[in-house]
Symmetry: C2
Subunit: 410 residues, 2 copies
């Protein structure tokens, strides 16, 4: 007694259902190797259906036979456990920082198979040169991994707009209105990486990708705010397990939240933004290290560990400003956790005391606990991991789309 | 060729499908009266199915025959248009303010059928007395409406926790840990309103309900921040058409976002919170009207309209502080609009210039336009409307649940 029209029983719907079931099966196996019988029990699909779906996923190179399954105590032939294929399609991540470039490949299970980093000052450099260096790094990372990447995501320290692959503004790089995906595709073609230049390329803000890495790999709850520093300051707001991107894609600009409205002028044109207290330039200036180049995070951490008074005071000041800005975020968003990530991870021992003190003094109309301010385990690796892992997660979430695409080109 | 088990074809699933189809039909008709044929065309259900579902909704008192449908130009008997029943179940809203109580009933279409308000200072008053007065108001509102309410939602100026119907903190009322739903139920029983005391009772923060009213009735996009003043300051954050409640239900506490971290001490224990610049007491103090009681919003609006210099300066200061706090919200959340609501609606002419100036000067790393700061058309009626309309929207969203419940008690 189905009351709807019979539209759902046409061939289109059979394809849609098979595609959904491919995702159901692969999603189960992504949680850890298991036998066809276990997959059938967990999904409610018949064993015959699971076998047929698994066959398709094996053929597409997404699954592999991972050895005998854990004995189930039942009579009969022991099942073979299926796992995500370690030699299946990979995820290619790229990162453009103010002082570095990086590329990595993860396999379907999210494990890092290659990782390359290059220290180079990109600020004010001709974008074409930046992309040429990055293309070379990506080519090496892909070759070394031995995997065939299925997609590429680029992390940039800037605002990525609604237009696909377009960096609206990256003040710390000196970029505005740069079609980053198109530039990267050209550079990959120019360096002879034809297969890589044919990949789907996405571009995202590095703070967003760092937050997603924390969600996917950091074992965080589904509601948190991830505060991170590269040259600028960014944040990622995760609500109900999803990244909050905002109406126009610009959410998470923590660095320009006003901390002291009459404070020092900011490069953005406003006054007293968080970046004027806790950004790279501000902290180095406060520590009397204004002319330093290179890895500012490592330098500050070294000097703080050595007891340098000026550096300790500068980091305490940055921690207090972070605490004030974080108070606003907690009052507005009520996250389960605040996570200090990116470069702040390595500086956490000297930032946290002042940050905790501000939060304790200011978050008073609602409960707050020191335990809800935590430190990322991924640190500065977060954005690049998020970029690469996002590619393979998209495959696992919808293997039918990948299998369809793969069979055209294989 | 369905590959799943046959579990979906059991009787439970037929009931589930009928329930979903009841919602589909009622949802169509909620957009405006239409004939059975129009509903069938829009939903993809057969005409026979629509007739059967409509019959059930008519019997449950949710639909009524609304006269001949617009002629479709087709041959044959003209269909009768079905509309939401104006004499169907109603939504009962209640509001406890610092200086007033209010109750209203809306019909299924969301139209107000009765509205009662009582000016009374509730701050520090024994909660049982507050609830006794409110129960009397609710009883009158229900009687006057001629409708049978299907549920009751109470708006309070405080933090409502995860525990059902519990007000964790309402500093402006002097409440902490008050089981508001249970108190209201007792008071309704005590005043002889037995049917009302048997209703499902929900309690929510008044700023949340004001924001929901703006979403449902104000024609807003699905991503906005609603800033409102009662005695305190609250906000509602709407993302993708849904209210962001936060991990523990405390999101939207805009009033305690730090504006000037070294500013005046706030009753919450922190310093320089927005409430110290744009809350009732702060604005009255700045205007030299510290001892005023009664309707502070109307008083300020009258004096500002008359050109009172001190009031104009106080409102400009409040507008500037609102602009600074709103800058933080815009940078974090990237809403499509900021909406000034509640008591701020009537003060908007004098708040907006300073607020716009701060936003223009401070929101610089991403686009911002004066047009994205708007004023609510609902004003101080918002929270009570949101409370009452939420009840009927829940019925329209799942009429099967209501029809099932109604048939037990009728």
């Amino acid at each position: 007694m189905r009351e709807t029209d019979s539209r759902q029983s046409g061939p289109a719907s059979q394809q849609g259902m098979r595609r959904a079931n491919l995702a159901l099966v692969l999603g189960q196996i992504a949680q850890g190797p298991r036998s066809r019988a276990e997959v059938a029990a967990a999904t409610g699909l018949t064993r015959a259906a699971v076998s047929s779906l698994a066959e398709e996923l094996l053929t597409a190179g997404l699954l592999s036979e991972a050895g005998p399954a854990t004995p189930s105590g039942k009579v009969g032939r022991p099942g073979t456990a299926l796992g995500l294929a370690p030699d299946g399609p990979g995820g290619l991540g790229a990162e453009i920082g103010v002082q570095h470039l990086a590329a990595c490949v993860v396999d379907l299970r999210g494990e890092v198979r290659s990782w390359h980093r290059m220290e180079i000052r990109n600020q004010g450099r001709l974008p074409a040169l930046v992309f040429a260096d990055l293309a070379g790094l990506l080519r090496r990372a892909a070759e070394e991994s031995g995997l065939r990447p299925a997609g590429l995501t680029l992390a940039v320290p800037g605002l990525v707009g609604a237009a696909e692959g377009m960096v609206e503004r990256a003040p710390n790089l000196g970029w505005a209105g740069l079609p980053a995906a198109a530039e990267l595709r050209l550079a990959l073609r120019a360096c002879g990486a034809a297969e890589l230049s044919a990949l789907p390329i996405e571009v995202d803000n590095e703070a967003n990708l760092g937050g997603l890495a924390e969600l996917w790999l950091g074992g965080r709850p589904g509601d948190f705010v991830h505060l991170s520093a590269e040259a600028g300051i960014g944040s990622a707001i995760v609500v109900g397990g999803r990244l909050l991107r905002g109406a126009r894609g610009f959410a998470g600009e923590l660095g320009h939240v006003p901390v002291r409205p009459d404070g020092p002028p900011c490069a953005c044109g406003a006054r007293g933004c968080l970046e004027q207290y806790a950004g790279e330039a501000a902290v180095l200036r406060a520590a009397g290290l204004a002319d330093v180049r290179g890895d500012w995070v490592a330098l500050l951490a070294d000097r703080a560990a050595a007891g340098d008074e000026a550096v300790l005071a500068a980091l305490a000041g940055a921690g207090a400003a972070l605490g004030i800005a974080a108070t606003g975020a907690v009052n507005l968003l009520d996250p389960a956790e605040l996570v200090l990530g990116g470069g702040y991870t390595e500086l956490a021992p000297w930032l946290l005391p002042a940050m905790r003190a501000e939060l304790a003094a200011r978050v008073t109309v609602r409960p707050w606990s020191d335990d809800w301010l935590t430190v990322s385990g991924l640190g500065r690796r977060g954005p690049l991991l998020g970029a690469a892992v996002g590619v393979v997660r998209a495959i696992v979430a919808d293997p039918g789309r990948f299998a369809g695409r793969g069979s055209d080109s294989d």
